[in-house]
Symmetry: C2
Subunit: 360 residues, 2 copies
């Protein structure tokens, strides 16, 4: 016979044990210091501790004393890019005492919307959508509807990365970064380029590639100077792209991978194919996740302050703790008038994987 689960301990029980009313117990546990007699308060606190009372957050939420709760939607925590952003976000959340709920979409637009809906259902105070959006109109409509509804009941939300949707956002300068890569490579003497890209429906991919291509254009080189290969936005995708490039004769002296994760895949594939980096081919990624410097050879990238982006995004929705005091003097109007968009610079970091071209 299995034991029946004991019932949870309620405030009422604590109140009874302390010989007071539930209201007093509630006040003693949460209310300001000067709102309940010292002796009673002590009795209540002690009873609660003895009974190991833990408030029922659901009941509290229903009776409006909601604890700050924020939902995080992202592709996959185990991807170093998202992991770094998440870390920054969690730091700020912790500082606010906010509880974080996590949703992994594994890049499915449907799951993304589903999670937003779930968080809405949980009455999350804020929702963070991390990672590139999709350009599919159905997705956009559904997402917009969810988000607006959330906002209408007083919820906040913000994006990390572009989303073609109104709202606060933390935006890496993807286009500028892509352009900077092109210029760095041009300066080293490269004239024929390969780009390992992800699906163009991801705005991040689109912007990085566009930035790169436009800088090549501006340099007066023909479009044919850059050969774009589209694969999955993952390590395997990078691997596939590299294979395709090598199989196709490798008519390039430099390879730009639109993400570090792809660059890692490409590096592996190139090694397998006997293509030497940087001797046969210069390589550069994007994001500058921590491991890039440790790779063999140390691999160039475009530095983004990932943790900073995570922190900033969380601040956007939770409010900067230090700014709480600012509103003291007057109206904190504006809000939602025009969304705040915080840009993060993207800076090329050249390492051993990138040199001047050594063959023609």
């Amino acid at each position: 016979m299995v034991d029946q689960p004991t019932r949870q301990i309620t405030l009422a029980q604590v109140a009874q044990a302390a010989g007071v009313s539930p209201a007093t117990a509630s006040r003693a546990l949460h209310g300001g210091d000067r709102i309940v007699g010292d002796e009673l308060r002590a009795r209540v606190v002690q009873a609660a501790r003895r009974l190991r009372y833990v408030p029922n957050a659901h009941a509290q939420a229903l009776a409006n004393r909601a604890r700050a709760t924020v939902g995080l939607v992202m592709h996959d925590v185990s991807d170093p890019y998202f992991a770094a952003i998440t870390r920054g976000a969690m730091e700020v959340a912790a500082a606010h005492g906010a509880l974080v709920m996590l949703g992994s979409t594994f890049r499915s637009p449907d799951r993304e919307i589903e999670y937003v809906s779930t968080f809405r259902s949980q009455r999350a105070q804020a929702i963070l959508i991390v990672g590139s959006g999709f350009s599919d109109p159905d997705y956009l409509d559904a997402m917009r509807a969810e988000l607006f509804q959330h906002r209408d009941v007083g919820g906040r939300y913000a994006f990390v990365s572009h989303h073609d949707l109104p709202g606060d956002a933390v935006l890496p300068d993807n286009a500028a970064g892509g352009a900077a890569v092109a210029r760095s490579l041009l300066e080293l003497g490269h004239r024929r380029f390969a780009v390992a890209a992800g699906p163009p429906t991801l705005t991040t991919v689109e912007h990085r590639v566009a930035g790169f291509v436009s800088a090549i254009d501006e340099a007066g080189l023909p479009r044919s100077a850059v050969h774009v290969v589209e694969r999955e936005f993952s390590e395997n995708g990078g691997r596939d792209a590299a294979h395709a490039l090598v199989r196709g004769g490798l008519d390039a002296t430099a390879l730009f991978c639109v993400s570090d994760v792809m660059a890692i895949g490409a590096l592996t594939a190139l090694r397998e194919q006997g293509v030497s980096v940087p001797h046969d081919l210069s390589l550069i990624g994007f994001d500058d996740i921590p491991v890039m410097r440790h790779l063999c050879p140390a691999t160039s990238s475009v530095r983004l302050d990932l943790e900073g982006m995570g922190r900033e995004a969380m601040r956007l929705v939770l409010g900067d703790p230090s700014s709480d005091e600012l509103g003291a003097d007057g109206d904190s109007v504006e809000e939602a008038v025009d969304p705040r968009r915080v840009h993060f610079p993207a800076e090329v970091v050249l390492r051993a994987s990138t040199t001047a071209p050594t063959r023609r």
Copy 2:
């Protein structure tokens, strides 16, 4: 003037819009198919959709229709070790439709307990404690109390890694892995060893080091053959340990880092100090996080199926979906009688960073 947040849409409103009672609306939305008339059901569903109704999860929880919710407590998602485990866990959670809440402790015992309490407050159905426990008695008492209370109200919990606490657990064979490292190194001809360890209060560290040392003992070598350096359990700790070793004269031909993250730090430091791996010093880590194979040189490690561990742990608390049908024939008694402990093997993977000693 800021708009007042609109009130959330309630079931009652949906019911009214559909011209039925709240009870009927509730049934139409959740109940089995044959419990409400087709026409009414259609009206309700449509009204709900039109109003973009989302149930209030708190109210549902209070009225006992709780959605599966599991709390995950860990050191830091951005650490690849935890990221991989989390990924596995999230996969299974998603398959169960469970919502995951995340707590980052940044290795503070207090925060760990605090998060368990928070999850308890949220009435999480299950709690997963990921990562090495602490051997501090106060911590153990407090944690035990929290967990037991959770269990008493029907909650489940499980550990990933050792915790000196009763309960289901997924356990990497740390001691065996440490011993295997020692044997591999011995076999290659090494006789003087350095170990970069984390704080011995972490059970994981303790077991890995103990396994290593005992295998050295068994080989008949003196205790002085292994020089243990204790530092932070982090990349910086690995770096510090390597520096200390080099400064101390480096009287060893092989360095065993108790985690890959430490090994990465050590590798960096060694390169900075002009110590060549593996020529001057063989190096091996533990965990085999994905990047190890990409490092320069490719770095040996002890393989652990991190994602598998995460999946298994989540299965332990959520129940294996496929095993749900097993109980069909009879009593699913036992439970809690004796905790389930699932061991995961640790297998040495030798790469370029480890060779026979080349100097004496």
